[in-house]
C-alpha cells in the first residue's frame, strides 16, 4: 500500500465518526446512508491531494463531507422505510432502552424534514462549531448563520414535538 494511501486511511479512520454522522443526517434509509458514506470516502480520497495541512484534517473533512452530502443524489426508486418511529423504537427498546439513543433516533428522524442547508447548520452546531466557523464553512455571513440556525432549531423542535416526543 502506498504511503499516502496509508496516511489517508489512518486519518480518515480516526475521524470516521464525521462521515458516519453526516450520512445518517442526510439519508434516512440505511442503504442510502451506506451509499453516501462510500461517496464521501471516495470524494475525500479524490480531494486528498488538495489537503495542504494548513488546517486540521477534521476541518477539511467537514467541508468535503458536507459538500458531498449537499449535492448527493440518492438512487431513485429505492424502497423507503415508512415505519413510524415509535414502532421502530419499540423494537429497539427490547435490546436497548437507553434514553440517549431514543433522543438521537428522534433527532435523526426529525432532521429528515430539513433542507440540505438546514441539515448542514444543525450538524455543524452539534459538532460544537461556533457561528463564525459555521459561517465560514457554508460561505455565508455570521449574522445569516446565526439567524438561520435559530430558525432551524425552532423548526426541528416543532417537528420533534409533532412526532410525539419532547425533550
Amino acid at each position: 500500500m502506498l504511503e499516502t494511501q496509508k496516511a489517508f486511511l489512518q486519518q480518515i479512520n480516526d475521524n470516521k465518526g464525521i462521515i458516519h454522522k453526516v450520512s445518517k443526517m442526510y439519508m434516512d434509509n440505511v442503504l442510502d446512508q451506506e451509499d453516501l458514506f462510500q461517496e464521501i470516502v471516495m470524494q475525500l480520497w479524490k480531494a486528498y491531494p488538495s489537503f495542504k495541512g494548513s488546517s486540521k484534517f477534521s476541518t477539511w473533512m467537514y467541508r468535503v463531507a458536507l459538500n458531498t452530502a449537499i449535492v448527493f443524489f440518492k438512487k431513485e426508486n429505492r424502497k423507503i422505510d415508512k415505519t413510524p418511529l415509535q414502532e421502530q423504537l419499540d423494537i429497539a427498546d427490547i435490546n436497548d432502552s437507553a434514553d440517549k439513543e431514543e433522543k438521537l433516533a428522534y433527532l435523526y428522524k426529525a432532521v429528515q424534514e430539513l433542507n440540505q442547508i438546514e441539515k448542514a447548520l444543525i450538524f455543524l452546531f452539534l459538532e460544537n462549531q461556533s457561528h463564525k466557523e459555521i459561517a465560514q464553512n457554508l460561505g455565508i455571513s455570521e449574522v445569516n448563520a446565526r439567524v438561520k440556525l435559530n430558525r432551524t432549531k425552532e423548526k426541528l423542535q416543532q417537528t420533534i414535538k409533532n412526532n410525539g416526543y419532547e425533550f
Binding site: H20, S50, I70, F73, L104, Q116, I117, G139, I140, F167
Partner: protein, 201 residues
C-alpha cells in the same frame, strides 16, 4: 428542548466500528450532479459518434447523385468541424476536476455555473447541427425534385412558406429545450434550489 444536552449526547454517541479499508477508495460511480451530467454527456458523445458514422453511408443508402454527394460531403464536414470543437469543450469539462474543500456556497455556485455553461454549449451544438441538417434537406429537395418544388412554389404563397420555416425553427428550438430540460435540467434545478435557500435572509 435542551439543545446543549442534545449536543453532549450527540458527541458521546457511538459511531460505526467498521474500519475504512483501501477497497473503499476504489473509484465507483460518483453521484454528484456534475458526475451524473458527465456520465450522460459521455453516453451522448458515443451516441453522436455512432450517428456520425451512420451518416457517412447516407449517400449510398439514399442513392445521392454525384452533385448531391459533393454538397453532402461539404455539409458533413461542417457538422464534423462543429462537433469536434464542442466535444473538445465537453472533454475539458469532463476532465476538469472540482474542489469540494471550498466553502459550500462557492462549491455550489461552481457546480451551478459550470453545469449551466455546458448545458448552453450542448444546446448551441444541437441548434447548429439541427439547422445544418435542415438546410441540407432543403437543398436536397431542390436538387432531387426541382420540378415538383417549382409546382409547389407556384401554388403556395411566400407567406405560407415563411410560416412553415418559422414553425420548423420553433419546433427545433422547443425539442432542444425540452430535451435539455428533461435530460439535464433536474440537476440544475436542484442546485439552484439549494443556492436560493442559502441566500434567503
Amino acid at each position: 428542548m435542551n439543545f446543549d444536552q442534545l449536543k453532549d449526547q450527540w458527541n458521546e454517541s457511538e459511531t460505526s466500528s467498521n474500519e475504512i479499508s483501501e477497497n473503499m477508495l476504489k473509484v465507483t460511480e460518483a453521484r454528484t450532479p456534475i458526475d451524473q451530467i458527465r456520465k450522460k454527456m459521455k453516453h451522448e458523445f458515443f451516441g453522436q459518434l455512432i450517428s456520425l458514422l451512420i451518416l457517412v453511408i447516407a449517400p449510398k443508402i439514399f442513392h445521392f447523385t454525384k452533385e448531391l454527394t459533393t454538397i453532402y460531403i461539404l455539409f458533413y464536414g461542417i457538422i464534423c468541424g462543429f462537433m469536434a470543437y464542442y466535444f473538445f469543450k465537453f472533454y475539458l469539462f469532463y476532465k476538469h476536476s472540482y474542489d469540494l474543500s471550498l466553502d459550500s456556497r462557492k462549491n455550489l455556485l461552481w457546480f451551478y455555473y459550470e453545469m449551466k455553461l455546458n448545458l448552453e454549449l450542448y444546446k448551441a451544438l444541437t441548434y447548429i447541427v439541427g439547422f445544418i441538417l435542415l438546410a441540407f434537406c432543403a437543398i436536397a429537395l431542390f436538387t432531387i425534385n426541382s420540378e415538383l418544388l417549382n409546382k409547389i412554389f407556384a401554388k403556395v404563397s411566400l407567406t405560407y412558406i415563411a410560416i412553415n420555416i418559422i414553425v420548423t425553427i420553433l419546433l427545433v428550438g422547443i425539442i432542444t429545450e425540452l430535451w435539455a430540460k428533461f435530460y439535464y435540467g433536474k440537476y440544475l434545478k436542484q442546485i439552484k434550489k439549494i443556492v436560493d435557500s442559502m441566500d434567503e435572509e
